[in-house]
């Protein structure tokens, strides 16, 4: 796979960068670009001294974490900065023309026809009140191209949308995320622009869909000879798709160069950190937990192995959830979200449930948490079936099983300061006195490596990583035995993600926690999990130890999931991996 990709890329560079008489001229050139945002606290620089060139037909990736200025830089190229943003220095040159301060009219001319855009989030980038076909048609019409129904259908089917003619008459909400992104790609490429700005075009999509979409985008831009400015936070993806990678950090370009070179020989400390912490298929289980496991295993070898076989903290058997979907005329149909799923979690280990969106993995998590009733089957916690628990027993159960959710922005109450957030579960369960609770909160903050001075702060004053640490501290407040992490690290930047995963591993070895880890990200699974269960459309299609599943996947579906991890196909020298 890696060779195939590399080979195609090499061929493309040769064919895709034609040398007109007079030597190649860059299609897009940003020279010493500086962008500032006017805020109530004065001007804030967002991008400083950014420099990049995109040759015709070339794919250039800008990599960086959120807030690094990568999107801002790209959006400035088509005059799409937010109202309070402006180019304060430097110049933007498109095809030899300085468009830094071009008139609104000129920019409108360039948009669509010369520079296209594929935005990040397919859910929010199509106008919900207009049909897909309408949104494609107006693009064609605005750029003076034929815009009959057949033209619209052609554009959509080129982007890989099946049955484009009738699909054009549907609204965005009738499309899946992948289909919407195809529609957005269709719109972005419909007027055959010479440059396509793809702003995280697949980060909101499942990994297998992501691969299809990116492959298709590759093929299309290659056929049309379109240059692509790809913005991504994923170094693996950038290296796999781009000829040239530009790394941005805190508004500045810190490193630029050919993709593979940058990955194998990163010079800037930030790039080095990024390469080191990028989870990939090659990474191994984070050590601290495992080491602890081995140590205790060595000491208690004969008894432990026997006990381990029995000591399953959670056992899920034939778990099924059927939802009733209301249809027209009051009829309802059954939808089986989870279909006879069985797995177990050994005490002190991590079991990961992986699958794409809609696979039912989050429903499993909700049922194990007791937040959603099961239609049939059983969930045994320490041998007791929680589906039969009464009110009081359930209250006790909640103390021993705690959740950490995906979105650290949504899962903390903005009106509660950090102290109150972490102390609340203790108070609800009537643990200790006010004094001892405060001591406990300090201890918890210490465990998640946050300063205790943070107690008086509010969630909006914290970064995403800090918030997730608070969420972990809250989950640990009641000394639970099991922690259920529902996509607990997927909203975080890669460096922060690595920190949180390390923290979770440390806490596991320290406190003997068991984790149920719900995720769509197989690279993360490799780092944190001891055993894996793969779900597809409500069914468990494969399970085993992490090594078994990754080294020797049994089903085609698992193989496809593994192959779809960005960067999976890259062949890296061993010292980097």
């Amino acid at each position: 796979m890696g060779n195939h990709q590399g080979g195609r890329r090499a061929a493309r560079t040769a064919a895709g960068a034609p040398t007109p008489s007079g030597g190649p001229q860059p299609l897009l050139e940003l020279r010493n670009l500086a962008i500032t945002f006017a805020t109530s606290n004065g001007d804030v620089p967002a991008v400083r001294n950014a420099h990049l060139t995109v040759m015709p037909g070339e794919t250039v990736a800008i990599v960086g974490e959120s807030g690094s200025g990568k999107s801002t830089t790209a959006l400035a190229a088509i005059g799409l900065l937010p109202a309070n943003g402006r180019v304060s220095d430097g110049s933007i040159i498109f095809d030899g023309e300085d468009i830094t301060h071009a008139s609104e009219k000129r920019i409108v001319e360039l948009r669509g026809s010369s520079i296209g855009m594929v935005p990040q989030d397919p859910m929010s980038n199509l106008n919900p009140v207009w049909k897909i076909g309408f949104q494609v048609r107006e693009t064609l019409r605005a750029n003076g191209l034929p815009s009959g129904p057949s033209d619209v259908a052609k554009v959509l089917s080129e982007a890989g949308l099946p049955d484009a003619g009738s699909r054009a008459n549907q609204y965005p909400h009738e499309f899946s995320g992948g289909m919407r992104q195809r529609a957005l790609i269709a719109i972005g490429l419909s007027c055959r622009p010479r440059l396509l700005i793809a702003d995280e075009p697949t980060s909101a999509l499942d990994v297998t869909v992501q691969r299809q979409i990116l492959d298709h985008l590759d093929t299309m831009t290659e056929e049309l000879g379109t240059a692509v400015l790809l913005i991504t936070h994923d170094l693996g993806l950038a290296a796999e798709r781009a000829h040239k990678v530009i790394v941005m950090y805190k508004g500045q370009v810190v490193e630029a160069g050919p993709a593979l070179e940058l990955l194998t020989n990163p010079r800037h400390p930030y790039t080095q950190k990024l390469v080191a912490s990028a989870p990939s298929i090659a990474s191994r289980r984070i050590e601290s937990a495992k080491k602890a496991g081995i140590e205790t295993g060595d000491l208690l070898a004969p008894t432990a192995s026997k006990k381990a076989a029995l000591d399953r903290v959670i056992e899920v058997e034939d778990l099924t959830k059927v939802f009733k979907i209301r249809g027209s005329w009051g009829k309802s149909t059954d939808f089986t979200a989870v279909d006879r799923v069985s797995f177990s979690i050994a005490r002190g280990t991590t079991t990961a449930v992986v699958g794409e969106s809609g696979s039912g993995k989050s429903t499993v998590a909700k049922m194990v948490l007791g937040l959603e009733g099961a239609t049939s089957g059983s969930i045994r916690f320490d041998g007791v079936d929680i589906t039969t628990l009464g009110r009081k027993e359930m209250f006790d159960f909640r103390r021993r099983v705690q959740p950490i959710f995906q979105d650290p922005y949504g899962s903390l109450d903005p009106m509660y300061n950090i102290y109150r957030t972490i102390e609340e579960p203790l108070r609800v369960h009537g643990v200790g006195t006010a004094k001892s609770r405060e001591k406990k909160v300090r201890q918890l903050l210490d465990q998640v490596a946050l300063p205790s001075a943070m107690m008086q702060r509010f969630p909006n004053e914290l970064s995403g990583g800090q918030r997730q640490r608070v969420a972990i501290a809250r989950a640990l407040a009641l000394d639970p035995e099991v922690v259920i992490c529902d996509e607990a690290v997927s909203a975080l930047d890669v460096l922060v993600q690595a920190q949180i995963l390390n923290l979770l591993a440390d806490l596991q070895s320290e406190l003997g926690l068991s984790y149920l880890f719900i995720t769509h990200d197989l690279a993360v699974v490799r780092q944190i999990a001891d055993s894996v269960a793969v779900m597809k459309k409500g069914r468990l299609v494969e399970q085993g130890t992490t090594d078994e599943v990754f080294d020797n996947p049994q089903t085609a579906y698992t193989q496809a999931l593994l192959a779809a991890i960005p960067g999976a196909g890259l062949v890296l020298p061993p010292e980097v991996a």
Partner: protein, 308 residues
């Protein structure tokens, strides 16, 4: 969709029953003898009073009275008011004027409210936006009868651009001033609602994408910002239509408009029970229908909303 509309019409039945029962009960439990209102100062002979009581079922217990009234409504016989005129005729006489006034007020508040709100929203924080916001706040804060008398005095009496009061014919030009006064407060609300909604939508991702497609600024604003922003505004306008149709007691009073509001006001003063109950019931039905209309319009504006 058809099933949804049928269901909504079926829902009108309990609303109708509940409302009429409540209004009937309130009127019934008013202190004083209803016949005293008919007879006036001079009083009637006991024989006449007994006759009136029989005519209006006042000699029956509350439940019987109510059921007899319902029977009348179902057979399209609203009965007569205390002056002996058929109530249905009176409503048919005054309702067109109120409807005309309501629709004029609605058009004024919608057109000007949306236009001003759009401009203010697009120019957030600029001079136009700030001044319009202050003005709308004044309009909301000052009671309607102050505004009404003020405008009547300035435009009708001082400048004499139009008649200060409305004649029996209620022509378009005569109704213009009351319609402006009637729509003024809602205009301020529509303006503010549109403004907020525009500000919210103008930063939406799909608006940026639409711009990136190469659409002109005008098209982006009209097609992508305005339509999406109108969804909450339409809800407000629909509810307001129901309220306006009910007649504006104060405005109709100031400008002497012979509409539903004025008629209802007189009926309440006269203690004319049958008249009050009938008009209120009629208004409730109008209000429900206006709301149904809004919900259907809503589905048309926002295709994500599906009624089943």
């Amino acid at each position: 969709m058809a099933w949804y509309i049928v269901r909504r019409f079926l829902q009108l039945i309990p609303v109708f029953l509940g409302a009429t029962l409540l209004v009937y009960f309130l009127v019934f439990s008013l202190p004083g003898d209803a016949t005293a209102a008919i007879c006036g100062e001079r009083g009637c002979t006991p024989a006449v009073i007994a006759g009136l009581r029989e005519q209006y079922n006042l000699d029956q217990p509350f439940w019987i009275q109510y059921l007899l009234y319902l029977k009348g409504v179902v057979t399209f016989d609203l009965g007569t008011n205390f002056s002996g005129r058929p109530i249905a005729t009176i409503i048919a006489e005054v309702f067109p004027t109120t409807a005309k006034l309501a629709i004029m007020a609605l058009v004024i508040e919608a057109v000007f409210g949306i236009a001003f709100g759009l401009i203010a929203g697009l120019r957030k924080g600029k001079l136009f936006d700030s001044s319009v916001l202050v003005l709308s706040l004044i309009v909301i804060a000052v009671p309607i009868f102050v505004l009404g008398f003020l405008m009547q005095f300035l435009i009708g009496v001082k400048l004499q651009w139009t008649n200060p009061t409305v004649s029996g014919d209620a022509t378009f030009t005569e109704l213009l001033l009351p319609a402006v006064v009637l729509g003024l407060v809602s205009f301020a609300y529509v303006l503010r609602l549109t403004r907020t909604s525009i500000i919210e939508n103008v930063n939406a991702d799909y608006v940026r994408t639409a711009t990136a497609k190469g659409l002109s600024r005008k098209r982006v604003v009209v097609v992508h910002v305005l339509r999406n922003s109108l969804i909450p505004v339409v809800t407000f306008l629909g509810a307001d239509l129901g309220a306006l149709m009910g007649g504006a007691i104060v405005t109709e009073g100031i400008f002497n408009v012979n509409g539903v509001g004025n008629t209802l006001y007189r009926a309440v003063l006269n203690g004319d029970g049958p008249m009050v109950v009938s008009i209120v019931t009629f208004l409730i039905l109008i209000f429900c229908l206006a709301n149904l209309l809004v919900d259907l319009l809503y589905a048309w504006l926002d295709p994500r909303i599906r009624y089943a």
